[in-house]
Point group: C2
Chain length 584, copies 2
Amino acid sequence: MIGGVPCYNPCMEKSGVFRIGLAQLDVTVGDFAGNLDKMLTVLDAARGLKIDVLAFPELSVCGYPPEDLLLKPSFIERIGRSLDKLSAASRGLTVVAGFVEHRGGLYNAAAIIHDGRHVGTYRKILLPNYGVFDEARYFKPGVECPVFTIAGVKVGVSICEDIWYNDGPSAAQVRAGAEILLNISASPYHYGRIRQRADTLMARARDSSAVVAYCNMVGGQDELVFDGNSIVLDGTGKVLARGRAFEEDLVVADIEIQSAACVKNSNTEHRTVWDVPVVPVSTSAGAAKPLLPPRDVRDLSLVEEIYAALLLGTRDYIAKNGFKKVVLGLSGGVDSALVAAIAVDALGKENVIGISMPSRYSSPGSITDAEKLANNLGIKLLSLPIEEVFSSYLNSLTAVFGDTPAGTSEENLQARIRGNFVMALSNKFGWLVLPTGNKSEMATGYATLYGDMAGGFAILKDVPKTLVYSLVAYRNRSAGYDLIPQSVIEKPPSAELRPNQRDIDSLPPYEVLDQVLKAYVEEDRSVEQMLAVGLDEGAVRRAVSLVDASEYKRRQAPPGIKITARAFGRDRRLPITNKFRGNG
Amino acid sequence: MIGGVPCYNPCMEKSGVFRIGLAQLDVTVGDFAGNLDKMLTVLDAARGLKIDVLAFPELSVCGYPPEDLLLKPSFIERIGRSLDKLSAASRGLTVVAGFVEHRGGLYNAAAIIHDGRHVGTYRKILLPNYGVFDEARYFKPGVECPVFTIAGVKVGVSICEDIWYNDGPSAAQVRAGAEILLNISASPYHYGRIRQRADTLMARARDSSAVVAYCNMVGGQDELVFDGNSIVLDGTGKVLARGRAFEEDLVVADIEIQSAACVKNSNTEHRTVWDVPVVPVSTSAGAAKPLLPPRDVRDLSLVEEIYAALLLGTRDYIAKNGFKKVVLGLSGGVDSALVAAIAVDALGKENVIGISMPSRYSSPGSITDAEKLANNLGIKLLSLPIEEVFSSYLNSLTAVFGDTPAGTSEENLQARIRGNFVMALSNKFGWLVLPTGNKSEMATGYATLYGDMAGGFAILKDVPKTLVYSLVAYRNRSAGYDLIPQSVIEKPPSAELRPNQRDIDSLPPYEVLDQVLKAYVEEDRSVEQMLAVGLDEGAVRRAVSLVDASEYKRRQAPPGIKITARAFGRDRRLPITNKFRGNG
């Protein structure tokens, strides 16, 4: 007995169905009213579905990651008020919701709310402080791994990273008798992550012979996209239910208590480094109810998954920042074609405006390709030739430039005039500018600061050029025709800033370059290591030099969507002032 | 006896002078060869001076902060090789130097080197992970507080934050008999910090009745300036020696061993949470030598100290990034005048190029003021009127803009033409562009992205407008005449982007605005709190709205020099997508 309440006794006192609901919501950082509204709507659905425990994602009350908003006391107060409202609205339900607890310091916490009252709290123990994460900047780590008895079932609640390790907090909860490991999370997408996460959760279910219920956030937040993919696994690692990818969803899974309870881990080794109090929440057994029919969710292919991430990241950035329409330069090249297609898929063709900005160096094919693309996508195309302005710059600069040969300065001017044109339209009409550069360019500095880098949100910032082609091919396959014209795909990449310019004149071929960049930027390989796996020495040295020398440009780049293991942005923090050269 | 070596016995076995040397060096991140050269030069000086223990700053081998370079195994290897060279060169000396130890994980460490061998290591325990610091991203915390017996004297070596708290690692070392607390540091400047740091160190000396020897880094590294100000205090908190501010220095202090040893703290309370091994390093008593004469260093006034920080930050950013000359637009306003003055003081007048870029809205006074300033500073002034290019933009955009009234779009175009001109000169001649905006503008978004925000290094990015005036007054006082003309100082601030425009039309008066910004940006005050201290409600609400709405601009701003308690940049990390409004 704990405090007069009967303790859980597996396989003896219970039978029936325990119904778990995982609400993978797309919340917005700082949107307390909006986030609460979404949560309240789910509460009603949960009542209708007779859900025994309903989970909302990590920090769902305030959005994730709130970054330095957490340093504002007024922000923390708002979290408290919002949680109180959620609690009050939870009559008749048991709810687990992510919030920030202020208690001597700040904790990344899960509130356990029962029948209108906040009855217990779990505090995140393992605080990620790598990659895009800065949780040690804000939070103190929890030290307790409570197990909550909900409707007679022992539930070990944890947050995100706490379930990743087989000797972590979840393991301590299992040793204390937890039958269900309920984890609320805000785990951002990068390619490979969905599979890796599912594998880890399956391993956790099998290690512990416990049900694993994992509720992930969904939606875009600046550079991050949360992919949803919430999941419920039984104690053998079998999938009981899955949430959709890149969409809001309420995932409901029925656990047959008899079976769940009887496969308990009898591991007697107690290496617990955290306290594991067992806290009764609600002792009435789950109401008898018929099992829900199983629902399955289709697996996405890798390219499909990446496209979906870009789509959601774009849609959310634009909507959450109060924009409706976007504008971008259409060069006739493959990058701007892909950005336009994603923008149309995200926002609708009526909300995307293309601009053709030809120069004296534009090939006729580029101009007609831009027209063909705009026509296929059904978007408006404006034409703003840059020649008059370019001539006026050259004329004004003559006194200073004298007879110096034309070079980078004159090339960048063209890119900057285009940047100014799109920004002028943005300022005039309130359209968000989408720059079209890809990760290969961002890495090598093959882009003009304040020129083609100008804009609000760089969709392809973390998409290597070779992947741009794969995404275009995927989009054309799903369209069933050459939505993006073959001529766009087949033309050799060129910035068209001087006569007959080709990317290949300045950069290694993209097939090679992208391999080098993955090794150098994402995996921190040295030149020696890259040569050892057979990468071309010239390409390696050239790429490494360019990456090293371009940090100052990236520091002023707009945000983009992280889709790889390491994106430029919060994920990769290098000094500008730095004499260490990868080339040694 | 420890390992056959006689233990330290205070007041009985020793007498004479123990000489400490603190080498406050200006090292560069990643410049292994350059940093090592500097250190080797100091070794020679230390031999000549018969120094008993010589300290180099925190992470002096690789520079601070190395940020994500620490994730590259090749960078860590280079640190090891560089430390080996330093060790080998340290024959006849005892040296304490900051490096990164790779031992299961990474440690921010101090190598204790004696007579050519690395004989001991201290690992930083308290890892700052707030403000500009991300040390928990890279390092594991140490768990031992060793005391090293050097020339018969017990020395507690620690790193930076480890000495800030009266119950921290230094206290544990004192309880284990340390007579000298030797702390190596890389503590960045902000105004108020120098005094605060000295006070803390004095308190530590008094708490522990131990000598405190604090060796700080000096120099600029991207947004940070390390101010030096190394210091040696006796066990009563009296200053024995001080290093210069904002300059390299070798600080030497003589400790009379008898007196240092005999005032030991007899505190018997042992709350040590860390192990405190006592490690013998060198047991020969310090060579008998006469005391060095005391040297004092003049205190700087607050404005003098800030000016010096800006000067060093500018000089180092430019030199360490391989630039020689800089270019900036001279508008005739006070911000660009101050930037020009700092640049001239940092680099010499021959390395600073001003550009006057008048428009149809420039007042005649602005143009002549720019000329007068350039003349006073002795710098070259180019003239590039923007009218022709501006007209060509308006003409090209007519088809799209139609008869919409002129507004932000047309105003920003003028700023962007100027941005393009300075960038064109930068690309053509290799000059670094210095944008001239101040913190008040950066906070409120009263600056044009890709326009006046364009450039490599924003010297005044963290300097509020009211402080700009103080710095100008200081510079004129030290010049002994109106180096920056009175007409520049007295003219009402204006962007001159439309007829008769004044900053005051869009912003609260700067005297009020800067108070609000300090409270809101640096101190996270809520609107209610600001009103409660009597700030004007209109100004507060206006400023808060502008700050909240300008995050996207700041994300693309160039780096600048941190001089306040919280600068924009790594120091303040806010989401762009954020519906939390300070106005509630």
